[in-house]
């Protein structure tokens, strides 16, 4: 059973910029899948289409069994979205942020109260819960973002560059959270431009360059393809081979 199915997705922005030039991939239920690529490759555009924030110019995408264009409301009920920039309301406290997010998902009040406590505890945000998030550190805000994405117990969680801008320590904490979520059976799609992150977290990954997927597979498979060309290849070599090749193709 696939949690995400993407077929020949294309997106041309008004003004003619082609952000996606035919992207196809599928993510199995319970899998952690990473979209890896340089800035402007089309990772965020893909996520924005899959989370119903943006419409594709052509192609089809289904998330949690529903079409993102024809059944956006059904999709929204089943997904969590953690955007690239923190989406928390800085004038509100952590608890208020979580509570409002739960209300937008129409979670009944008694259940929401327990859920908020649960998430504050899980993400170690209890001590600061009643302080305005303005005063929080970047790492704490990021954890709150993820907690907000999980408030309604989604089937699929989208993490758009979850660790960009975080210090190494916060990044390690975030990785631990992601692994724990994956163990809980959640389907995760994350985008990153850190090779190490994709290697550490993802069961499968696709390398996106210039709006196209240039390589796809498990980290092991991708490294395996280079054996013979490079001794003891790392994901760096895979990435260089894939992106370098793509650049040459475009020239």
């Amino acid at each position: 059973m696939h949690a995400i199915e993407v077929e020949d997705l294309r997106k041309t922005y008004p003004g003619g910029v082609e952000a996606l030039r035919g992207v196809s991939f599928a993510v199995r239920s319970g899998e952690v899948f990473a979209l890896l690529g340089p800035n402007g490759a089309g990772k965020s555009t893909t996520v924005r289409i899959l989370t119903t924030l943006s419409d594709p110019t052509a192609g089809r995408a289904r998330v949690a069994g529903f079409d993102v264009v024809r059944e956006p409301l059904e999709v929204r009920r089943r997904i969590g979205y953690v955007a690239q920039s923190s989406g928390c309301d800085v004038s509100a406290t952590g608890r208020e942020n979580l509570t409002l997010q739960g209300r937008l998902f129409r979670i009944p009040a008694p259940r929401l109260r327990t859920r908020v406590e649960e998430l504050l505890h899980l993400f170690q945000l209890e001590a600061a819960a009643d302080r305005a998030t303005q005063t929080w550190s970047g790492g704490m805000k990021r954890r709150l973002d993820v907690a907000m994405g999980l408030i309604h117990g989604p089937e699929v969680l989208f993490l758009d560059e979850p660790t960009t801008g975080l210090d190494p320590e916060s990044r390690t904490v975030m990785w631990k959270e992601v692994r724990r979520l994956a163990e809980g059976g959640l389907t995760l799609l994350l985008t990153t431009h850190y090779l190490e992150e994709a290697d550490q977290l993802a069961q499968r990954l696709a390398i996106v360059v210039g709006g196209r997927i240039v390589a796809e597979g498990t980290p092991g498979e991708l490294k395996g393809r280079l054996r013979g060309e490079v001794a003891n290849p790392s994901l760096d070599d895979v990435y260089l081979a894939a992106t370098g090749h793509a650049y040459r193709e475009e020239v």
Binding site: S54, L73, C88, D89, S91, L104
Partner: protein, 256 residues
Amino acid sequence: MEFLKDTWHLFVRLLRATLRMPVFLIISIVQPVLWVVLFGQLFRSVTTIPGFESGSYVQFLAPGISIMTALFSASYSGMGLLGDIDRGVLDRMLATPVSRGALIAARILHSAVLVIVQAGIILIVACLLGARPHGGIPGVLVLFLAAFLIGAAFAAFSNALALLARRQELVIAVMNFTVLPMTFLSSMIMSRNLMPQWIRGVSRFNPVNWAVTAARDGFEGRAGSEMALCLALLAGFALVCAFLATRSFGRYRRSM
């Protein structure tokens, strides 16, 4: 039903944020008071011009300043939305099942409520300076309704602009460009029968003038067909602006 619930929760969020900015609150309260006192002093002698409709300028000014304050504060409603866009708050909310209309309705409601509070303070100060609400409580309620409707309309317009332009500079420029001329093309600070003929003609099609007329008729206890017509036109205008704002959401999404 879900639309109303969503609107309420989002409204509470905005109200809470406002209450947490004491400086903003104090300025929002002091500024209209300052208008009443300053305008009241500056234009005191206009009441001596033959044909001026009122013997006391403060009496004449109170409803007008209530509407002017409504315009000024509601015009900036879109800035809050821009903040939400920049911080990713709007996108986070758009990826939830929340009613799209509620995202705008909450902002309109928030502005309109502040506008009523400000109008209340203006009336209290004006009464301390000698104005009298001849229309009694119903008249004051009409004034509040007029301030609410024009505030809602301008808040909606400001939000639509924020969604379409997505730049603070543009929202500020367009709002200033509309608010001031609309203010001066109305009987807000000058009696209607002393306006030049052409301004009187133009003012008949000016929503700000509808609001001023309804508010002043209510305050003075001149409830009549003119007041009812102005309120009806205002309500229509506010609905059109709200509709435009919701439509701008579609445009915003398509541009993303």
